[in-house]
Subunit: 342 residues, 2 copies
DNA sequence: GGTTAGCACTCTGAGCGGCTGAGTGCTAGA
DNA sequence: TCTAGCACTCAGCCGCTCAGAGTGCTAACC
């Protein structure tokens, strides 16, 4: 059930102050900072009630209060005032984008680094993927008599490459011919259509190798979250007082390893529309119990897209973080839309 | 001038013990561990002499001795016994290579991670580069009416891509035609030859855009050390007692950032033949004053190659590290030689 | 009944002193 | 030239005390 207005305001102040100072906030400190027309004794009573509800705790008897995970959740869902970025902040971010080149890959790297710098936490982004990946073009380059480099371009403008070993000798001419034939036959198809299609004429040995490799590539690209996310600002994260102890720091460093994160990003929670906030143990994965994700989808709704956001301690300025994540996701989406002409 | 035999042996023991224990080694501890037929008092006298020579110091009056940078240098140059890896160690390493796929890019990543794991320090590797990069093949894929994706394959099997914006409308057919013409004309050429070549027939506007982009790509690939090195095992490094303090840890984390390292790897010190050891302040770059690099070149002498090695605290098992770096570099070189048929 | 002043109680963290153990440098004798 | 002995040093640990911040409870007040 919802909290009374006053109690809610007190919880919000506790969260705000704690986010700010990283030290437990006591009743006297609270009334001193926020002129809320109440004595510290009254605030203490309210705090005791909030503690009964499980929204705050204290680390030991004579310490101030800190929000529990449930407290953050309540704050985020019911108390937090969403605000947009100021004109100034927007311009700063846009400026960084416009200064840089117009390559998709660079945008991704730029977005994640802009995000990390503006909220002083670790930012992450997954590479953009099409919902349905289609084959755009195949190219084969001879490396030796029985070996060639296969380059595949997919509809999300990703380029994949692989070395192929042929059971027979091949020349650049035969490879070029094979490439043209495959392009004509399979260009624009998805993996599913690929598999469904019967070979109209029996494939040669070399061709079979190529087709198998292309299918494998498309499937890998299709599979969700195969690529490890790009991570930026780990040091911003580790500078937070939560990780002042070097053991904690090492553990956290392990948790934010790209390969670990690949499996653990709760991208299922990210809807089309808005920013998802996953607080502490809402994410089942072990090492993130005292951290929160703030994630958004980016990319045009029907096109290539991915997830970007922030990973930080649960003690995080959620309002500000949400605004930044949303804005950067929007900017990136807009860039991609212009790029793809979607 | 060289040390007396006995004094050298004592220095070597000090280095060995200190590398092992990370605590200053005292005279009594030394005689207890190494049965060298001398009393601790005699060892103390020798230690005082070694300190006069600037090869060891002590952090405070009543502490044992630790090697200075000059001490490590003397050890490495004159005292250290080089040993090869055991059969067992070699097999473990080879096994990891043979288990993995046979892509050049994967080898690079594998080498650096094998290295980091076997010496428990941070390993780094620069991407292989040809001494002379040649254009292998160009491909153009239409993205929209005035935009195309340019894919360039260079002689070191690297694939580069870039989006191009044309001042005129283009179709996939015209792009394909343009690609074939460029391949015929410029395939196999280096940048230098590229620039020297007069245009045999005046270039169209679209063609000029492509040529400019290709030249730019080749130059970037040609330029030394453009790509940031791949780094692995930062956590192994930070686990060393040197970085037990969280501030030190953050500083070090900053120092081993790939972009910082790109500028700072003392690759000039790496000769063709053997493993280079750069101790502490022998590297002028600031943040590495109390760290050492152990580096080797990899790749067939005339072909694509790079630098790989270890970055760790000056307190490092140099003998073992050198053996590992050398072996992994050899394995990688051999793999590349087989791959390129060189 | 909600609010507040007052008070006893609790707990952390900083500061201080003493002690121990490992180590040194020096001197004198073998 | 080596070694035994001795006085001296210093970091690190332990235990102690104390101040400060905070709590919960009770009784009085509006």
């Amino acid at each position: 059930m919802p909290l009374s207005d006053r109690r809610g305001r007190i919880l919000a102040f506790i969260v705000d102050d704690y986010v700010d100072s990283a030290t437990p906030v006591g009743s006297q400190a609270l009334v001193a900072r926020h002129a809320l027309g109440l004595s510290s004794a009254t605030v203490r009573n309210e705090m005791a009630a909030l503690e009964d509800e499980g929204l705050i705790t204290h680390p030991h008897t004579s310490a101030g209060r800190i929000p529990s995970n449930r407290g953050y959740r309540y704050y985020v869902s019911s108390l937090m005032e969403e605000h947009d970025l100021s004109q100034q902040e927007r311009l700063t971010i846009l400026h960084q984008f416009h200064q840089s080149a117009r390559q998709l890959e660079e945008w991704v790297g730029l977005a994640v680094s802009v995000l990390a710098n503006s909220v002083h936490n670790m930012a992450l982004i997954t590479q953009p993927r099409m919902v349905e990946v289609r084959l755009k073009q195949v190219q084969l380059v001879e490396l030796s008599e029985t070996r060639a480099l296969l380059v595949v371009v997919t509809s999300d403008a990703a380029v994949h490459q692989q070395t192929l070993e042929f059971p027979v000798q091949v020349s650049q001419e035969s490879l070029t011919r094979m490439g043209s034939r495959l392009n004509a036959e399979f260009g624009g198809k998805t993996v599913a259509e690929f598999a469904a299609k019967d070979a109209p004429e029996p494939l040669g040995a070399a061709e079979a190798v190529v087709v198998a490799a292309v299918v494998e590539m498309l499937m890998r690209e299709q599979r969700a979250a195969v690529e490890a996310p790009v991570v930026e600002g780990v040091r911003e994260l580790l500078r937070q007082p939560e990780y002042g102890d070097s053991d904690r720091m090492l553990d956290t460093l392990e948790a934010v390893d790209e390969r670990k994160l690949r499996e653990a990003i709760p991208s299922g929670a990210v809807g089309e529309a808005d920013v998802a906030i996953i607080i502490g143990d809402e994410n089942r994965a072990g090492p993130y119990q005292d951290m929160s994700f703030v994630l958004a989808r980016y990319g045009p709704p029907s096109g290539a897209g991915g997830v970007l956001g922030i990973l930080g301690p649960t003690r995080m300025a959620y309002g500000d973080t949400v605004a930044h994540v949303r804005y950067v996701a929007d900017v990136l989406t807009q860039l991609m839309r212009n790029f793809y002409g979607d």
